[in-house]
Symmetry: C2
Subunit: 316 residues, 2 copies
């Protein structure tokens, strides 16, 4: 009988879930909007119903091993989501317990970037690695650290927030209320802020000047960079500079074999990877220089979050 796990990815707009085999095949994938579910109990009831219906659609015989959830501000130890600013639930939500009681299966939960790291370890390019860092470059910057073959969760389950390590204590205002966090520079939204600053600071010609400033996206900046637009190129260079320094600082703590870059901005490929690698090596202590690999994730972007969440079940 085939063993299956359900992986759930909770985002600010949608929740996606999938049924995953031990080998990382996503057999079924669905999603629905999350915004209207202001009552978490109503959400759990609806989710349980959806899962039941989805599973009846599977033709083969199977044994369901459990449900893994990746969520912003997810706490692995407690199975809670705590004070997630972009979700409809306030305070601490014991989502793993609520769902587990409802469906009678083990439910594991962790933050989305840690789930991505787990996915990389179980299904992706980190299968044989004991020490690596996963960086997810979306709207913000998420991170998961693995050392000695285990996820670093910290004493409270909240470890791995490199996006909120401070690059410049007098720098850009962050949504978290502090200044100069890495993610205000190195993320899809960060590179957009960089472009806006560069456009304001000089009269250098750029195709990005022809777009309403609030419509500029990281994809547009990437496309402009392919045409060698000077502002776009400088923005990638500056993003890589900041990310390179902060990755060098992270290396000084955990000395990983590989750092994986994943998500929207990482799709820029060499445009981002090459300068990040250069700046990171420039700022690495001698003993680490040219030893730390920078690689793309081995997971497809569409399935990564679901695979990562499902990996929480196969881990044990």
């Amino acid at each position: 009988m085939q063993k299956l796990a359900i992986g759930i990815d909770i985002g600010g707009t949608n929740i996606s879930y999938g049924v995953v085999t031990e080998d990382g095949v996503v057999k079924l994938k669905e999603s629905f909007p999350i915004k209207e579910f202001t009552d978490v109990n109503v959400f759990v009831d609806y989710l349980a119903e959806r899962l039941k219906i989805s599973l009846t659609g599977l033709s083969t015989e199977f044994q369901l091993m459990g449900v893994g959830i990746g969520a912003p501000n997810g706490n692995y130890y407690k199975g809670t989501i705590e004070f997630a600013p972009n979700l409809p639930w306030k305070g601490k939500v014991p989502l793993a317990d609520l769902l587990s009681k409802k469906i009678g299966l083990p439910v594991k939960l962790t933050n989305d970037a840690n789930a991505a790291a787990m996915g990389e370890m179980i299904y992706g390019n980190a299968k044989y690695l004991k020490d690596f860092i996963m960086i997810t470059l979306g709207t913000g910057l998420g991170s998961g650290f693995v050392a000695n073959g285990k996820m670093i969760l910290g004493h409270d389950g909240f470890a791995g927030e490199l996006g909120h390590a401070i690059f410049d204590p007098n720098g850009r205002m962050c949504n978290c209320g502090r200044k100069g966090c890495l993610e205000t520079y190195a993320s899809a939204s960060g590179i957009v802020r960089t472009v806006k600053e560069f456009l304001a600071e000089s009269d250098e010609p750029s195709v990005l000047r022809h777009i309403a400033i609030d419509d500029i996206s990281s994809e547009m900046i990437y496309k402009a960079s392919l045409e060698r637009d000077p502002i776009a190129l400088k923005a990638f260079d500056y993003t890589a500079y900041v990310l390179g320094i902060m990755l060098a600082n992270a290396v000084a703590i955990t000395s990983p074999e590989v750092i994986f870059l994943f998500g929207g901005l990482a799709n820029a490929g060499d445009r981002l990877f090459k300068p990040v690698k250069r700046y990171m090596n420039e700022h690495l202590l001698e003993i680490y220089k040219d030893k730390i690999e920078l690689k793309p994730s081995g997971l497809s972007e569409n399935d990564a979050a679901i695979l990562g969440a499902a990996a929480l079940i196969w881990e044990n």
Copy 2:
């Protein structure tokens, strides 16, 4: 029969060693200068001879379990000291193997700050902690990170160099050849540099102006701060500011339960601990605020390095 381990602390000037019980009692302690031993084989022969003589002085019957060594740039996996700038041996020195062959006992080696963290875990205030950080504030800044109850050694055995995480990429020149490393600000030598800068920048009165500038030490600065000398107070505040921010960044990676401060500068007690705690909390992400304890080490300064090195033997 009593089980004993030998702990060896290799520093730039002296080597100290001691015979340590499982309970952390240092039964015997000796030291000798290291500078003249430019040939590591001569050093190993001499050290083995000294150890033999020291052990014959013990009155009780005992079983010697092994030798632990803490050394700058020590590599736990390989038992080597690699490119240590302040030691008489160049390149990579396989000290653990050389000594083990000579004395016929297991020899473990790691870097000095990791050894201090091991000592804290086996004998000190970290006995029941699974996630903590050890910071040693000497001439430089050393660090050891423990997560999930295990030392973070990294893929290459060189993890835990927070002293060389970059606070300001355009900042102070560091001995390592890069700029703005944490230890150029937060260490005994760092606070002296801060005072020199402050003395040059203003005419503010200070007792430290009456000392030849190259004679100023961190102890003098501490003493001046007790008399509420304005330059000394500002220097402690600035040191704490830089250390507080960089500790907040380290917390964002490993989320430790406790951070221990150890060594010369940590002896300043509340003068350092209070502002470091304040600045760290100010710069911590909301989920970590007021949850991370800052504590002094539980090891006596005189024995800590030897205990830490010996702890490598009891660990297994």
